[in-house]
């Protein structure tokens, strides 16, 4: 049962995609039901994994540092010739597993999938079988990235997510959909191909040092810990990995595809794009960059990412401040929030990195919520212009309340999830390099400015609504919309009030990583 759990989680949506395609576009009700069932099944599996995670890893109170991934599955897939030294034949494997780095991102993905299906319920009327099939494919791809423990399998899922999203944006998007889809696809593909060369370089450079060839991420990390790669090579590999991951995150000068893709995508697409797909970049840094090339992460990663992330925070915030389109504002706020994540990651201490991981989940929750709510407003009024809206609290008190809550969580109000994450990120960075943290803090203030201004303009004051036909009543959130948002709201509160269970489960990995960094620096000093 435990063996099949991850398989079921990843492949239930894939199966649903096939079923949905076979159903054809006429059976709208069935299509939705099948997709929702698959998303719920995935979520159940993910929750089961989270619930039994501690016992599955064999961690107890006495021995909290057993760090083998849980729920592992390994099947050889493509075997190469054994190396001359007579080692067993190395192979690319279908290797899945869950550890502290991926656990919460898996739960987040499964949760957002349910919301994404629910939010598309009524707004997607053209060719629904294609739409839901692509959405389900995307779910499989995203869950696959987080579960993959083989370096090539990771990349395969990483690239695979591009395909469904390209079509989702290109076919169901807004007025500029074709341009947005193409730019998104080519931009991310170009970067990630260079990343692939970096991954190949990691594997084969270790072979060049006399280690047996392996593609398994945990084993690679072990090999690197025993015998790090030479400094100059590390820097090249870092830059290669950086090329793809920084575009995916996106860091400041590489972010131009993001606002466009976000704004043009259908609501579910934006939710998943912001909630999960951007995390593939930060997760990639955490999973590949920092463990494999720790020295280069300190030497060039810290200054490079520090500057770019800080600039990104400020630039993103100011851009968000200038927008009148709500969706665009949220898109730019993502650039800023991901900047916090990156600052936390490249603090390279346990505190900062766990903050970053938590902030990834937080951003997924709160920005996912923001996109959901904006989508609901758009469904009702067919506009996203702040100037056209006002006093919506009078019409939709519940939506207004949830919007206020979400904005506060996104700003980082103490007691809500954003605060915990941002605090850890910034305090981690403060310990490493105070300047970046100080400038980053400014971003929080700017965040409060643009989000609160938006709430004030649109939800308070005198009622202002566009194109409402005489006598038509704009309804408040219905049960479907509530069930799409409330689980996320609850999770926001939980992380804000009691983050310990979340932090505990990632702690061993974070400790190990920061240990790795310290060790790398020490070796550097001796040299």
């Amino acid at each position: 049962m435990d063996k099949c759990l991850l398989l079921m989680m990843i492949f239930a949506p894939l199966l649903a995609a096939v079923v949905v395609l076979l159903l054809g576009s006429n059976q709208l009700v069935r299509i939705r039901q099948v997709s929702l069932a698959a998303a719920l099944l995935s979520l159940l599996c993910a929750l089961h994994v989270a619930w039994h995670y501690q016992s599955a890893t064999g961690r107890t109170a006495e021995e909290p540092f057993a760090s083998d991934p849980a729920f592992e599955i390994r099947v050889p897939w493509l075997s190469y010739l054994p190396s001359p030294s007579g080692a067993p034949s190395p192979s690319i494997e279908f290797h899945l597993g869950v550890d502290g780095l991926s656990l919460w991102l898996i739960v987040l993905t499964a949760l957002l999938m349910v919301s994404a299906v629910l939010i598309s319920w009524k707004s997607i009327q053209t060719n629904p079988s294609g739409y839901y099939a692509l959405l389900m494919l995307l779910a499989s791809g995203m869950l696959g990235v987080f579960c993959a423990l083989d370096i090539v399998l990771f990349y395969i899922f990483f690239e695979f997510t591009l395909l469904p999203l390209f079509f989702l944006i290109g076919l169901w998007g807004g007025p500029q959909k074709r341009y947005a889809a193409r730019k998104f696809f080519l931009y991310t593909l170009a970067g990630s191909l260079v990343t692939l060369v970096g991954l190949v370089a990691i594997v084969l450079s270790l072979v060049g040092q006399g280690q047996p060839m392996t593609f398994s991420l945990p084993e690679l990390a072990r090999q690197v810990a025993i015998q790090p790669l030479p400094g100059e090579l590390q820097q090249w590999i870092f830059l290669a990995l950086f090329a793809g991951l920084a575009i995916k995150v996106p860091l400041f000068p590489f972010h131009t595809w993001l606002p466009l893709a976000h704004v043009e995508a259908p609501t579910a697409g934006s939710v998943l794009l912001a909630g999960v797909l951007l995390k593939l970049g930060t997760y990639g840094f955490l999973r590949l960059c920092i463990p494999m090339v720790p020295l280069a992460s300190v030497q060039i990663g810290l200054p490079l990412v520090g500057v770019l992330a800080t600039v990104g925070i400020l630039y993103g915030s100011f851009c968000a401040l200038a927008q009148t389109d709500i969706k665009k504002m949220v898109a730019y706020s993502s650039v800023a929030h991901l900047g916090f994540c990156m600052l936390g990651l490249f603090a390279l201490n346990a505190e900062g990195m766990s903050g970053a991981l938590l902030q990834m989940v937080n951003h997924g929750l709160s920005t996912g919520l923001l996109f959901l709510l904006v989508g609901m407003i758009y469904d009702r009024y067919h506009t996203r212009q702040m100037t056209a809206l006002g006093g919506l609290n009078q019409r939709m008190p519940i939506l207004g309340l949830i919007m206020m809550f979400t904005c506060l969580s996104s700003i980082g109000l103490p007691g809500l999830n954003g605060f915990v994450g941002e605090f850890l990120c910034l305090s981690g960075m403060f310990a490493r390099h105070p300047i970046y943290a100080v400038w980053g803090t400014l971003g929080i203030i700017l965040g409060a400015w643009y989000l609160l201004t938006f709430v004030m303009k649109c939800f308070h004051g005198p009622l202002k609504e566009p194109h409402v036909a005489e006598g038509a009543i704009i309804p408040d959130m219905d049960r479907r919309e509530l069930s799409a948002t409330l689980p996320l709201v609850a999770l926001c509160l939980w992380i804000g009030l009691y983050p310990k269970p979340f932090l505990d489960r990632m702690k061993p990995e974070m400790e190990a990583l920061s240990q790795r960094i310290k060790q790398a620096q020490k070796v550097q000093v001796y040299r």
């Binding site: 493509l78 075997s79 260079v194």
Partner: protein, 505 residues
């Protein structure tokens, strides 16, 4: 001393399936005078003959090479002869009833001769056999290019191809004559033995004993066969010829000469560079050859992909795509010159060759299936709205295009990954740079493939296509699709096979 008759029997023992194809092909030309039959009948007959040849193909385990024989058969030629027959069968299926009855016999006759030629290239164990087999591919191709349509464009395309192909044949012959001059024999085994002796002398004595003519021969041969595989800078004919000629011969032109060219290159490389037991990397010839391949691969990739960006004509676009893919495959050939690697570049090359054949054939098969009398598909824009008129076909086409881009979950990804691994595995800085160049090129190439996908899915047709796809075309399309996915999900059997091929010699 053997008599001529015994010698003939001895030589033909290894190549019975090809003898069958040759006899049948020649028989067609004669029969065409007396029999008038429909295109479909000739196609069915040809398909049966190819099947018979496939059944007759000796198994790959048996290595009946006798050093002096004119032909040999081992796992390498087993694989390539199988590939040749498979491609031949696919081309026959695609041509099914699209050939005018007046020239059907000649068309299918030429096709059978060409298939025999491809197979003989990989079965050759002698420089003369190699040259004759390559000519057996070329000469019927000239006929095919002109047979179906005799307008000005086709005439120009045929002439262009004819003159350049003859020129490359002359170059090849010149290069082979240098090999003969250096060893005094045209036999590949003798050549291999001679190179081994030189290498052994080289390791004991200080001065170089490898005759410098070998390098000249190598350059000539690479230039001549580079023409067949459309590697830059020998590619200039390809876009013009592709554009001018009818679609069916173009499909043939984009597959068959590539397979034959790489088979020929491998024959030469394995005889002069990859000597078992000798350290190939130490041979100065291997170093120069890998440098040569490096340049050709680099130029081909950039030339193909950058020029591909500007094309509107689908056949021109596919011509440039073919040039770029030839570049990727030559990366595999170049890395094959270093020894002791875990990820074998030559195995990568052959794996890529299968995938390339499947995906290119798939794209062409769809284009052929979409042609009709009243509506031709010439430009990229003619595909607009395909997802509305032929949704399944559009999805399949997208799969082939994503495979050409090298995206998972298609075999195109694994094919590229293997070449990346092989290039990095050489431990040479130059080839590591080439791996990076490959990545950049794959990204550039993605642009024009994605344009086709975008046109099919994201735009509506001005005048929708209304063609019914015939079943022979469907068979080819679905088989290609199957290969494209099968080789991604179950690559191991094929990869082990490819590795075994490259280990054998």
């Amino acid at each position: 001393m053997q008599g001529v008759y015994e010698w003939m029997i001895e030589a033909s023992r290894w190549v019975r399936p090809e003898m069958l194809l040759l006899l049948a092909g020649s028989g067609y030309f004669l029969a065409a005078v007396f029999v008038s039959a429909k295109s479909r009948s000739w196609a069915i007959a040809s398909l049966l003959i190819v099947l018979l040849a496939a059944i007759w193909l000796p198994s790959g385990d048996a290595d009946f090479a006798t050093p002096a024989s004119f032909f040999r058969h081992d796992s390498f030629s087993h694989f390539l002869r199988g590939l040749g027959l498979g491609l031949g069968a696919a081309l026959i299926l695609l041509s099914w009833d699209r050939i005018p009855d007046r020239c059907a016999a000649e068309y299918f006759g030429c096709l059978l001769l060409i298939i025999a030629g491809v197979n003989l290239v990989s079965a050759a164990n002698d420089l003369i056999a190699l040259f004759l087999a390559l000519e057996l591919v070329s000469i019927p191709t000239y006929v095919l290019l002109y047979l179906l349509r005799a307008d000005d464009a086709a005439q120009e395309a045929t002439l262009k191809y004819f003159f350049l192909s003859v020129f490359s044949a002359a170059l090849l012959l010149y290069g082979l004559s240098f090999l003969y001059g250096a060893t005094g024999s045209t036999n590949l085994e003798v050549l291999r033995g001679a190179v081994r002796q030189w290498l052994e002398q080289e390791s004991t004595s200080a001065s170089s004993t490898l005759p410098p003519t070998l390098l000249i021969a190598m350059i000539m041969i690479v230039a001549a066969l580079g023409f067949r595989v459309t590697a830059a800078p020998f590619h200039f004919y390809a876009p013009d010829v592709y554009q001018g000629a009818p679609l069916l011969p173009v499909t043939l032109l984009s597959l068959i000469p590539k397979v034959a060219g790489f088979a020929g290159l491998y024959q030469i490389v394995s005889a002069t560079l990859l000597i078992p037991g000798a350290d190939a990397a130490a041979s100065p010839l291997a170093a120069s050859a890998s440098g040569l391949f490096w340049i050709v691969a680099l130029v081909s990739m950039f030339m193909g992909n950058l020029m591909g960006l500007w094309q509107d004509d689908l056949k021109r676009l596919l011509a440039y795509s073919g040039i770029a893919h030839a570049g990727y495959m030559i990366v595999g050939l170049g890395t094959g010159c270093s020894s002791g690697m875990i990820v074998e570049g030559l195995a990568g090359l052959f794996f890529y060759l299968i995938v390339y054949s499947a995906m290119t054939l798939g794209v062409f098969a769809i284009l052929i299936a979409l042609q009709s009398r009243d509506r031709t598909v010439v430009n990229v824009d003619d595909l607009a709205g395909l997802s509305k008129s032929h949704p399944i076909l559009a999805v399949v086409m997208a799969c082939f295009l994503f495979c050409l881009m090298g995206l998972p979950p298609t075999a195109g990804f694994l094919a590229k990954l293997n070449l990346f691994l092989a290039a990095w595995n050489t431990e040479q800085r130059l080839y590591r740079v080439l791996a990076l160049v490959m990545a950049v090129n794959a990204a550039i190439g993605a642009w024009y493939y994605l344009r086709v996908v975008g046109v099919m899915f994201l735009r509506d047709a001005v005048k929708p296509l209304s063609v019914r796809v015939t079943w022979p075309a469907w068979i080819v399309i679905l088989l290609c699709l199957f290969i494209v996915f099968w080789l991604f999900f179950q690559p191991n059997t094929t990869w082990t096979w490819m590795e075994a091929i490259t280990q054998r010699r």
